[in-house]
Amino acid sequence: MISTKTKQTLKAVGAATAVALAMTSGAMADGHGKVKVGLITTLTGGGAALGVDIRDGFLLGVQQAGNDGIEVVVEDDQRKPDIAVQLADKMIQSENVDILTGIVWSNLALAVAPAATAQGKFYISPNAGPAQLAGKGCHKNYFNVAWQNDGPHEAAGAHAKELGFKKPFILAPNYPAGKDALTGFKRMYGGELAGELYTKLGQTDYAAELAQIRAADADGIFFFLPGGMGISFLKQYSDSGIELPVVGPAFSFDQTILGAVGEAAMGIHNTAQWSPDLDNAASKAFVESFKAEYGRIPSIYAQQAFDTANLIASAAAKADVKDMDAFRAALLEADFASTRGDFKFAPNHHPIQDFYVREVIKDGDVYTNKIIGVALEDRQDVYGVDCKM
């Protein structure tokens, strides 16, 4: 639940302070100043694995960018909106950060992102993409490098339709991203449903829901339950005697949880913008260096954070962060080698990207994902039309 406040201030490359100072002042001389990034993410309690991957992916990206001017301050939000807001205020007011990033959860992002942009800072989301911030609540200083929340679920909906689901049962937790999930699925699936359920956020026992699914005469299941919720659901599902095809977004079948789910996840189709086996040079180099640095396969959270760091580095190379208009324009160009391959921003500062169908496989004795097809190409979220910047 709670833990000691983690505070690490680290210089990007491990150079001696004197050298770093000399290089930074050199950089300042030719117009590109320092960039101070505040990374607020969940490092303790439930869901910490997601935040740890975001932190590790981000720091790896900063390290590889080789820009000594980028300084990162890491803080732990404990998955609590009030703490996230306090940390953000502290980082903005006393640490003088230029950019905030890192938040995993949509309810926290909805609390922090508008506060950050209102105080004249950039917020660059490496994960949460609630509908509100993509549509009416969009802001010129808010960028999302991951996806609008609906995206992976729209892809799952499209895939369910392709698999010939006639009457799936769908469920998600009762919080902003859960609502985006079911909305996204229904948008692309478009057919009849056997039932639709919102579960409690953080719920760990799904016996009641499984009994309903059994009674509902469904022909498939779609679920979005990130982190520990997904582990619990999958273990209980595999023991329930229900044998229906399952599709879902990558969050419930991600590298951070597959080890804990084990056999129960084998063969399940899930959708994401990336997979560790994606065939492009940036992705391969990222997976190799992440494995070498941390000794595990990166998750999509790590990948998104790595892209976020590279995006910031690419903008910092072009413009001074104090010149917000120039820096914003540089961010919008997205001039970096994304691990996703093609990547560009839509006018509402959310990605236009492909979504893949992945299958859970066992590689040696490690469970991981492999791409088996493309679910949606060049997908842009539907909320952008309401965005007036």
Partner: protein, 305 residues
């Protein structure tokens, strides 16, 4: 909603209640005998689950894993009783809350330090996998049924321990008059350590049993701890009978509320808003139940006035 589904949901509620009972029994015992509010009870639950996962990964034997959860949690309980908790009996509840809250932080970080941030793997043993058909054609998970039986067995065992044995007599005496039983020559500090270790072992067992169907991760104990407190407040603080009644009441209310409320709202509302309103209300239901019980019986169902 069919009868079969309703019976299955009642079983699910019962199973949830029994799990809560294993947590709440220790909590209420410790409060009843020592007058201590132990927030670190959730950490002992987590320790049980991690011990079971580690032993299961090492030996592959679920029974050994369950025994490990009992033993490791009991030892952890005895150690914190001897080093920290013992100093808190004479302090007021706020000091106890602060100190045991600190223990939560220490245990969480220590567990993360030893096992890492990623959830561990612990699965149902092969012998208990799958479902069985109960009379009436109800298909029910064998493992969940086993949990119900283990929980009821523990309830009976605790009842016998407290009402029929010498140790139980001392525990009851300790609840009634702490100073008196000390004056009668009973070594009160040994009794306290034993009661604390017993409560810890029950929490550890509960963590291991649940860990097999849920996720074994740092911080898994705290949501259950909150529910366990709701249970003992409803049942009457210090009463084992109250803990059992409260746990089953909370288990049934939560499970049935979760499934029935959206259906009930669906009869007069549009489907997706019925789901939203129903699930929102369902998550409040046990707290409404607690408020209702406290309104009519301020000391809980079986609490002493």
């Amino acid at each position: 909603m069919t009868t079969i589904l309703l019976i299955e949901q009642v079983l699910n509620g019962l199973q949830f209640g029994v799990m809560l009972f294993l947590m709440a029994a220790g909590l209420t015992l410790i409060f009843g005998v020592m007058g201590l509010i132990n927030l670190a009870h959730g950490s002992l639950y987590m320790i049980g689950a991690f011990a079971a996962a580690a032993v299961a990964a090492w030996t592959g034997n679920f029974l050994l894993a369950l025994m490990a959860s009992l033993i490791v949690a009991a030892i952890a309980g005895a150690i914190i009783e001897l080093t920290v908790i013992r100093r808190l009996y004479d302090r007021d509840h706020l000091d106890q809350v602060l100190a045991t809250f600190a223990l939560i932080l220490i245990f969480s970080e220590a567990t993360r330090w030893v096992f890492g941030s990623f959830p561990l793997f612990l699965n149902i043993p092969d012998a208990l996998k799958g479902t069985i058909i109960l009379p009436g054609g109800i298909e029910y998970s064998l493992y969940r049924l086993t949990i119900i039986l283990i929980g009821l067995a523990v309830a009976v065992g605790l009842f016998l321990l407290i009402s029929k044995t010498r140790v139980g007599m001392r525990i009851r005496a300790g609840e009634n008059d702490r100073e008196m039983i000390g004056a009668l020559g009973v070594d009160i500090s040994v009794l306290y350590t034993m009661v604390f270790a017993l409560g810890a072992a029950l929490a550890g067992l509960s963590g291991a049993l649940v860990g097999a169907i849920q996720s074994v991760e740092v911080g898994m104990g705290e949501p259950v701890l909150i529910l366990a407190f709701v249970v003992i407040v409803i049942g009457g603080i210090g009463s084992i009978k109250g803990a059992l009644a409260g746990a089953i009441l909370v288990g049934l209310t939560d499970t049935l509320g979760r499934t029935m409320l959206p259906v009930i709202f669906g009869t007069f509302m549009e489907a997706s808003s019925a789901t939203t309103v129903g699930s929102a209300l369902a998550s409040m239901l046990i707290y409404i139940l607690m408020a209702g019980v406290l309104l009519f019986k301020p000391t809980g169902l079986f609490g002493k006035a």
